[in-house]
């Protein structure tokens, strides 16, 4: 008669005994790999696998800094070469080069632009463009107040340069800036155009949509402005857009 219980125990012992060599091999290999890597990447030992170049001594470069008396510290990027032996095509980016811009974008992505059935025409600018202004000077109003409004002195401002830059790089923030500038200066058709272009690049900028609809209102296309606002509100729930639409409706009732 078979004693199943003791047979099962004997089987378990047999399995453990059989697995032991594999476990030992695995453990041994892990130890070897760890030891090898520790040995390989140890700074005290030079191995044929890592290409260690002599570190150049730190040079204190007398840069034309804003504060001449201060010591200038500059970092060293030589270490990249020791990492990139296997991947030779490394361009060492300049530490002072600007990172990619981080635009402020509202969280909801809106497909509002797609819902406008008829393509809106670009209105040609019939107004005279202002002459090329010099550099603006920023004046801060209410110095004691924490919230600051910034007034632009447009006398020295060159909008064309910015418009050219917008044409080349399609930066929506530049587009918004230009639309805002034109709206503030009463160039509603230009404001409409640039707001339209900005929305085409990035349709999540609230202010761009507001300038767009306000420009439509100023150009006498109130119904179109209302429709646009309704569509935009249905997607974004923008409070300012709602207020604007309510204002339009009240004016319409009058």
């Amino acid at each position: 008669m078979l004693d199943i219980h003791s047979l099962e125990q004997r089987w378990l012992k047999y399995k453990i005994k059989r697995s032991l060599p594999y476990l030992l091999i695995l453990l041994g290999t892990t130890i070897v790999v760890i030891a090898f890597d520790h040995f390989l990447y140890s700074d005290k030992v030079s191995t044929p696998l890592t290409v260690k170049k002599e570190i150049s001594s730190v040079k204190k470069q007398p840069k034309a800094s804003v504060h001449d008396e201060a010591m200038v510290l500059e970092p060293s990027m030589q270490f990249i070469q020791s990492i990139t032996v296997a991947t030779p095509d490394i361009t060492v980016p300049d530490v002072t080069a600007p990172a990619t811009p981080i635009p402020v974008i509202p969280k909801k992505a809106l497909p509002v632009q797609k819902q406008i059935s008829s393509p809106l025409p670009i209105i040609k600018n019939v107004q005279n463009t202002p002459p090329a202004p010099p550099m603006p000077k920023l004046i801060l109003s209410n110095p004691g107040n924490k919230t600051t409004s910034i007034k632009r002195d447009s006398a020295t401002f060159n909008i064309h340069e910015i418009e050219e830059r917008f044409t080349s790089n399609s930066n929506p923030h530049l587009g918004l800036y230009i639309a805002r500038y034109h709206y503030d200066n009463g160039n509603y058709s230009e404001a409409y155009n640039y707001a339209l272009k900005t929305n085409a690049i990035n349709n999540t900028i609230d202010e761009s949509w507001l300038i767009f609809t306000k420009s439509l209102i100023k150009l006498g296309r109130t119904e179109q402005a209302k429709k646009t606002l309704q569509l935009y509100i249905s997607q974004s729930n923008s409070e300012e857009a709602k207020n604007l639409l309510n204002g339009l409706r009240k004016e319409g009732e009058k």
Binding site: L2, I4, L7, R10, W11, K13, Y14
Partner: protein, 269 residues
Amino acid sequence: MENSLFSKPRDLFLDIVNPRDYVQIDSVSYMYQNLKTSVQKPLKMILLYGKPGTGKSMLLHKLHHDLSKHQKVFMIDIPIIDEGDFLRVLAQKIYSYVNREAITLTDFLELASAVNYTQTPIVLLDEAQLYTPILMEKIRLISDARALKFVIALHKTENEDIIAKEHFQTRIWESIELKNASPEELKVYIQKKLLKANCFDVASMFNDKNIHLISKLTRGNYRDANKLMFSLFTLYAWYEENYPTKIKHNALKTKWIEMAAIHTGLIRA
């Protein structure tokens, strides 16, 4: 437990040599046909050798079963070590010569020449490695006198090799070596045995992985395979009674095959 699905298959693998339980395996079948043909030729001896458990006894029994319908065949499956008794039994069984006392070789040969059979009687000797060299010499002399034909089955060990070579080399008409079964042959052996007994459900539980494990454990030895199967089905019968949900009918459990192997001593644990 006796009403279990596995009790009948278990009993099929009892280590009993019964020619009716003979399972035809291609390679062995071919050898058997050759053996049957060779036995009919005018020869003195046929040597059947192989490791224990390769089916020599089964083959001899089958040969005895098949030939005895047509001619005089006598099988000594358990060796008679005493020479006098050996000859006396042979004389009695073949020539119907009854004598309570042992007879000598000379008497036997005289007896053989007096009784002239149209077909030389055949004597099948199993476990011939147990016979003494002197007795083997007498057997050689009897075969030389063409009194009898001998089919000798013995285990293949170093010693037996010497016996085979030195005493019988010139006399052996044919020597047939039986080898352990390949995994495929073992699969055929097990499944045919089960199917012959209508154990279809159990026969379908064997997959290739199971067969390879069984082949690896038994090294293709039929005797060890019988013992392993017997233990395995005993285990299955127990689990069927106590833990029926543990039994899967699509394949055998590797764990239980290994447990059966531990029980039969095929695995040392």
